[in-house]
């Protein structure tokens, strides 16, 4: 039998100083092996090489509110280009006295998006609120009613155009994509092959070829005398493109449904449309909410491609301020600013998607 002899009464001993606090954290997280210590030092060295000169350029020596000529003299970043051109960058050729309208439309859109983040508020009413919001936004942008002057859509530009292309793009692509996914899972060979051809063809070509098509070939498809404006044509191309990707995501959800669900619906005597509407789709679409958000994010980023067919989205408006001789040569600053806007929007969506993933992962 083991006998333990206490020679001296210890109180509650503290853990050794090297395992707690800052030192303990550093030992555990930065220097747990010799090569990790080396790598940590290497990274700190690299950061030391990069961050101070960058801070010097972007913050300390930067010009915030000055003319282009002053910027050219100093070596720092020229954020004045943003300050001087912010209205054009954000709203494009929209007439300046009316620019409160796209601003109001964007505020409505952002409040709707923030409200929709909360899953407890998801209901049929929210859908109607969205519908009303979209109509009000369209009215604000177009005008022509209630004393608002009418603004032609070829004057739309900047951030509202980017947001419009992505929000309407996804709103229209979603039902189309669900339809395509159902078609692809269909037992009817003709419908199945038509949808497969459509989905694979669209997913096989770059978006830019569809945008070219919308810009150059689409007018040829229409009978003589009918023209559709350029923004709407690009919007159609984005919808057709996004729908194929939504279809693939939704197909994943449909395939994850156990056969028992279909059989149970059959045994209740539900027909195909009732089965889909009441049993399969509500479950399948719930599973695929997180990947759908990633489709939304990439659709949002992809709208920037309309630059190539010369639509004035936020990237194009930024680009065109750079052709002003006063601001020539400050493209890095201007692009960094737009990159930040895109980053904030996408970061907002991707953190939300991760949170949803956790919330929806209820297990069975």
């Amino acid at each position: 039998m083991a006998v333990i002899i206490h020679t001296k009464e210890h109180g509650n001993l503290k853990p050794p100083a090297s395992t707690t606090g800052v030192i303990g954290w550093i030992r555990a997280n930065l220097c747990n092996t010799w090569y990790n210590s080396l790598l940590s030092l290497l990274i700190i060295y690299l950061l030391w090489q990069v961050i101070p000169p960058f801070a010097d350029w972007a913050l300390i020596n930067a010009n915030w509110i000055s003319s282009g000529a002053e910027c050219h003299k100093s070596g720092g970043a020229c954020w004045s280009i943003i300050h001087a051109n912010i209205r054009f960058i954000l709203f494009g050729f929209y007439p300046p006295p009316e620019q409160w309208r796209p601003l109001a439309a964007m505020i409505i859109l952002f409040s709707l998006l923030i409200a929709s983040r909360n899953r407890n508020w998801w209901s049929r009413n929210l859908l109607f609120v969205w519908l009303a919001g979209l109509i009000i936004m369209g009215l604000l942008m177009m005008g022509g009613l209630f004393g608002l002057t009418s603004i032609e859509s070829d004057q739309w530009g900047g951030l509202p155009l980017t947001l419009m292309l992505s929000v309407f793009g996804l709103a229209a692509a979603y039902p189309l994509g669900v339809g395509l996914a159902l078609g692809r899972q269909s037992r009817l060979p003709v419908i199945k092959s038509l949808t497969v051809i459509y989905i694979e063809m669209i997913r096989g070509v770059p978006l830019i070829s569809l945008l070219f098509m919308s810009a150059i070939i689409f007018p040829l498809f229409l009978p003589e005398g009918i023209t559709i404006n350029k923004i709407l044509r690009a919007q159609v191309a984005i919808i057709l493109f996004t729908a194929a990707y939504v279809a693939e995501v939704v197909r994943g959800g449909l395939q994850a449904m156990p056969r028992g669900q279909y059989e149970a619906a059959d045994s209740l005597g539900l027909n195909y449309f009732q089965t889909m509407r009441l049993i399969i789709l509500p479950q399948a679409l719930k599973i695929v909410i997180p990947p759908t958000v990633s489709v939304l994010i990439s659709a949002f980023k992809d709208t920037s491609l309309v630059v190539i067919i010369a639509l004035y989205d936020i990237l194009k408006t930024t680009q065109s301020t750079l052709s002003n001789p006063q601001w020539m040569g400050f493209s890095t600053e201007a692009y960094l600013f737009v990159a930040m806007i895109y980053f904030i929007c996408c970061y907002f969506m991707s953190t939300w998607s991760r949170r949803l993933e956790v919330e929806l992962h209820t297990g069975r």
């Binding site: 070509v205 190539i308 692009y335 895109y342």
Partner: protein, 393 residues
Amino acid sequence: MHPKKLPSSFNTSFWQDPDKRSIIYQVFALGTVLLVGYYLFSNVQANLERQSIATGFGFLSKEASFEIGESMIHYSAADTYTKALFVGILNTLKVSFIGIILTVFLGTIIGIARLSSNWLIAKAAAFYIEVLQDIPILLQLFLWYAIFYQFFPSPRQALNPVDGVFICNRGLVFAIPKSHPAHSYMLIAFLITGIGIFFLRRWAGKRQAETGKIFPLFSVSLLLIVIFPLLAWFAGGAPTAMNTPVLRGFNFTGGLNVSPEFTALLMGLVLYTAAFVAEIVRAGIQSVSHGQTEAAMSIGLKQGKILNLVILPQALRVIIPPLTSQLLNLTKNSSLAVAIGFPDFVAVTNTTINQTGQAIEGIAMIMAVYLIISLSTSVFMNWYNQKSRLVER
């Protein structure tokens, strides 16, 4: 006793019979598609006739009469459109091929770094992934191109980090060995050694299966693949003459010049796609449960063997399908070259459309080329998935 067949009048009516109904649906769907297609086609024909545009691919044999900045084969403005488009395809394949190799390499490193026990490295990798994923690829291309022009000096003040390498806003210029027959000997030796290693590997695998003896394949192959080309180099007379770039007037002559357009495109594509690949690699590694590692340890495998024989084969099954789709995305995104002036296939076709007005043919060719690339990849992927599928009892 067999149930008596119901008389046809007892049968369900025409509209209630699912088989007949499904035929009606399909005929209706096909009819709609054909009608819409015919309507659009007839509109196109009428419009083309009115604008007196001739259709057809006859323009392909005409003289292109535009220069292409970068070409892997000899090309001049006097060549035909066919050759110009071929140059474009080669440029697309070049940037995609180099891009894919670099992306897989960088993406794997970042994906592993994301799981590092070193806090600093894990956070740096997470930061990289989050930022690069959230900025559109087109904007990144513009940004790299702008940085190239704004911060790099002109050729006269070119940075010269290592002897024979110059970095300036006209691109990256570096010395290459002067052409010499010894180089082709080296290439031949390299290829032959490669084939030899393939057979060596088969032999080693067979021997291990029969006798259990392990052949040190990796170190032997590495040694062979270095030694034989080196021997060929000595046999060819060991040429060391270099073709060094020299500043003449406003630009460099000689050496190999990598244009800013190509560099910006390659950097943009690689850095953007690597962020997605890193996430895929991370998910793949995490999908293999820790029990697998413990089991491998308990049967006495060494660290390297655990990774090679247990973790990677399981992780790759999860990694490969989304990885291919990302690499296809890279290939498709290389079409954005048109925005920064690198002459890839889309850019060359765009110029062709502008010169000849043959928009339908041009866009059809763009779609066909990318479709062929995508479809052949997915055929290969289906084959791979069949092969690597888990065989369950």
